[in-house]
């Protein structure tokens, strides 16, 4: 399936920002599952692309003239091979066994992981775990914040896709399965969930398998991958800092639509 994506983010500041810097992971790259047909970033000034530690395409936008707003636009077309379930990689997956602050597993998460996977750290065990997490952490926008950890979301029993992914990573790693955070886009027929999405991947039998806890999908469908990392902080589309500016208002609009194909 061919998807068309349009993602615009507007930042408005109360006061002038003296300078700012953003790490942008807003450009997908080719993989076994996805082929980028065209992609374009619209930034306030031209920026050279580089690869970040996880192989994601990174743009570092530095603005040192005073500014009151930043507009970041990303658009393009990507062909998704929906028949492909897993992705292979030559790099060792072992670094993805590591816990981070956001993906730390406490006693409750460890026990939950063990119980719900029936002590089987394989695909079917993790699928059961995914369903159990979906039931335990109710999808509730606004219940958590970006800094919320897996432990906190799990204890609170509600959250969004980011919390689902973190809780899954904490559980999988506690079972000894390397797992990573994925940020990307999802085309959904219903618009319950934002088109910007996060899910998890686990390393099983030498390949990365997707686990979308929010949608209870163990097989990626219209998932377009932007970036991976140990947690949200590594993979999030925009991570920035600024001097000055006061309060911030952010408006993001994401449109993901299937592209009508004249010929196939």
């Amino acid at each position: 399936m061919r998807l068309s994506i349009r993602h615009d983010t507007h930042y408005h500041y109360e006061d002038q920002v003296r300078n700012s810097i953003q790490y942008l992971r807003l450009t997908p790259h080719d993989s076994e599952r996805q082929q980028v047909l065209s992609w374009q970033l619209d930034l306030p000034r031209p920026v050279r692309a580089q690869l970040d530690p996880y192989g994601n395409i990174l743009h570092v936008l530095t603005l040192d003239e005073p500014h009151e707003s930043i507009v970041i636009g990303a658009r393009g077309q990507v062909e998704i091979d929906e028949s492909r379930e897993a992705e292979h990689e030559s790099q060792s997956a072992l670094p993805f066994l590591r816990f981070t602050r956001l993906t730390e597993a406490d006693e409750a998460l460890r026990e939950f992981a063990m119980l719900q996977s029936h002590g089987r750290p394989d695909r079917s065990g993790l699928i059961d775990l995914m369903h159990a997490l979906n039931a335990h952490i109710r999808y509730q926008p606004g219940a958590t914040r970006v800094e919320t950890s897996a432990v906190e979301a799990f204890a609170g029993g509600q959250g969004v896709c980011q919390d689902h992914a973190h809780a899954f990573l904490a559980c999988a790693r506690s079972l000894g399965v390397p797992a990573r955070y994925v940020s990307g886009y999802l085309f959904a027929d219903s618009q319950d969930h934002l088109a910007s999405h996060a899910w998890a991947e686990a390393w099983l039998d030498g390949a990365w398998y997707s686990f979308d806890v929010t949608n209870c999908l163990a097989k990626p469908e219209r998932h377009l991958k932007l970036a991976v990392g140990l947690d949200y902080l590594d993979a999030c589309p925009v991570r920035g800092m600024r001097r000055g500016g006061g309060g911030e208002q952010m408006h993001a609009r994401v449109d993901v639509a299937p592209l009508l194909q004249v010929q196939q």
Binding site: N19, Y23, R48, Q50, P53, S92, L94, P95, R98, L233
Partner: protein
């Protein structure tokens, strides 16, 4: 239990060792009142120079003077040459290990170190994978902690490859001794160490492919326990001392704000841990680093000394493998010994450790500075039991070693002169070549019987001499 210690000044029969004879004669000939006066003078001078350190875990953030002892630790040159070769060999192998780990991982493929133990280690930095560094150097500045067992043989206690500190005390202790007792240095040849700042600058410059790179020292700021040293080294090298807020990144290049405008920085001697270097890549709460620094580093536009990700090689759980690294990369036998180490992550070794806590030293694999360790023979029953629970809860976080006898050196204490336990930290510089100034920092545990020499735990320092024998 009777324990025999190796004393640096006296042999087993109580006779002064040959390389200490000049000093021993001087000590016997110098009136006690004069020595007492000079010791007061030393305290005053150190205080005036602001040579202090901040104690962690102290609510007041108290600045303390590190006690200085005027009786030097002396090493015969023939013995030093072996220690020197051993430290150089070790640091070379560790640098090769780091280059290998972040590229081909030959040592993991050869099955010499379990891959999971390295790759899932907190100190292993994914950001360094595949990144090429000038001269393949990661630990430009290393501090190798050495102790001597009962028979006098040297053992490496740990390799400090992140931001080893203490070299300013090494240099200041020597300056103080030369000022207080110039006659001692006229009486015999003590190998000079005052060229260390030059060697350090040379090492930092040679870490960059540029001809005359702009070098800065990056400090976390004046609340850091080693701030004095950061300022001292910047001044001695004649380079800028900066904090994160003095630096900024533009288009993947690092700049420093100056009164004359922005100036590009090529080499950062950073005394800041990996986690704090770039709030956009690591700890987001860090106010100490420079946003964008990691991208700039990965683009090859700035050198960090030491490199990011050296912590995986000085982790105490990796330490048992250093001997194997030397054999694997250099095809040599290790010159310096490792202390036998029990890895608590292995169930059989854990049960041995739990059964013998009274005799062992137990340390956190990620710990440093003597915080969070158990010295079995010196601990109370309650302390041992409390530690046992922590150990059982998270065995992988600990290693254990037999309690070494640690050599002693005569030291001024309240009751006069008495033997106190010491260690030695030579500083190894890796650039075009690997070099060490003779000696290093000698730390002394001032409490009678104590084996913990860290300044944060009440340790002092001594001047360290390498003398011709």
């Amino acid at each position: 239990m009777a324990r025999t210690f190796y004393d640096e000044m006296y042999d087993a029969s109580g006779a002064v060792r040959p390389h200490y004879q000049t000093f021993a004669r001087w000590l016997a000939d110098t009136p006690a009142e004069l020595l007492a006066q000079r010791r007061r003078e030393a305290d005053l001078l150190f205080h005036r120079a602001g040579i202090t350190f901040t104690l962690y875990g102290d609510d007041q953030g108290t600045e303390r003077l590190i006690p200085f002892d005027i009786i030097p630790r002396s090493i015969p040159a023939s013995e030093w040459r072996i220690v020197e070769r051993g430290c150089i060999q070790r640091v070379q192998a560790l640098n090769m290990f780091l280059a290998d780990l972040y590229h081909e991982q030959r040592i993991l493929k050869a099955g010499i170190i379990p891959a999971e133990q390295v790759l899932a280690n907190e100190g292993y930095q994914i950001a360094m994978q595949g990144l090429n560094l000038h001269r393949d150097l990661y630990a430009h500045i290393a501090g190798v902690d050495l102790v001597r067992d009962g028979d006098g043989s040297y053992y490496v206690l740990e390799d400090n490859l992140r931001t080893p500190s203490g070299v300013s005390y090494m240099l200041e202790d020597r300056k103080m001794m030369m000022r207080l007792f110039p006659e001692l240095f006229a009486a015999q040849r003590v190998a000079p160490i005052d060229h260390y700042p030059n060697l350090l600058l040379d090492t930092l410059k040679s870490s960059s492919p540029l001809d005359n790179p702009n070098v800065v020292v990056l400090t976390p700021g004046r609340f850091n326990s080693a701030y004095f040293e950061h300022a001292f080294l910047a001044r001695e090298m004649g380079v800028e001392l900066v904090e994160g807020a003095d630096l900024f990144v533009r288009d993947d290049k690092l700049f420093m704000r100056t009164t004359a405008g922005a100036k590009q920085v090529d080499v950062v001697y950073r005394r800041l841990d990996d986690a704090f270097l770039d709030p956009l890549a690591f700890n987001p709460d860090s106010m100490l680093g420079v946003p964008g620094l990691l991208a700039c580093y990965r683009s090859g536009n700035v050198v960090l000394a030491n490199a990011i990700g050296t912590g995986v090689a000085d982790d105490k759980s990796i330490y048992p493998y250093v001997g194997e690294m030397i054999r694997f990369y250099l095809d040599e036998e290790p010159i310096l010994k490792n202390v036998p180490t029990y890895q608590c992550r292995k169930p059989a070794e854990l049960s041995h450790v739990l059964a013998n806590l009274e005799q062992l030293v137990v340390k956190e694999t990620q710990g440093s500075g003597g915080y969070g360790m158990l010295v079995g023979p010196a601990a109370s029953k309650a302390e041992i039991e409390a530690f046992r629970e922590r150990l059982k809860a998270n065995p992988a976080a600990y290693i254990a070693q037999p309690t070494l006898c640690l050599s002693t050196c005569p030291t001024f204490v309240e009751q006069g002169i008495a033997p106190r336990h010491i260690d030695l930290r030579p500083f190894v510089l890796s650039g075009k070549e690997t070099r060490i100034v003779p000696g290093g920092l000698t730390r002394v545990a001032l409490r009678e019987g104590s084996l913990v020499v860290n300044s944060s735990q009440g340790g002092g320092t001594k001047d360290t001499w390498v003398v011709e024998d």
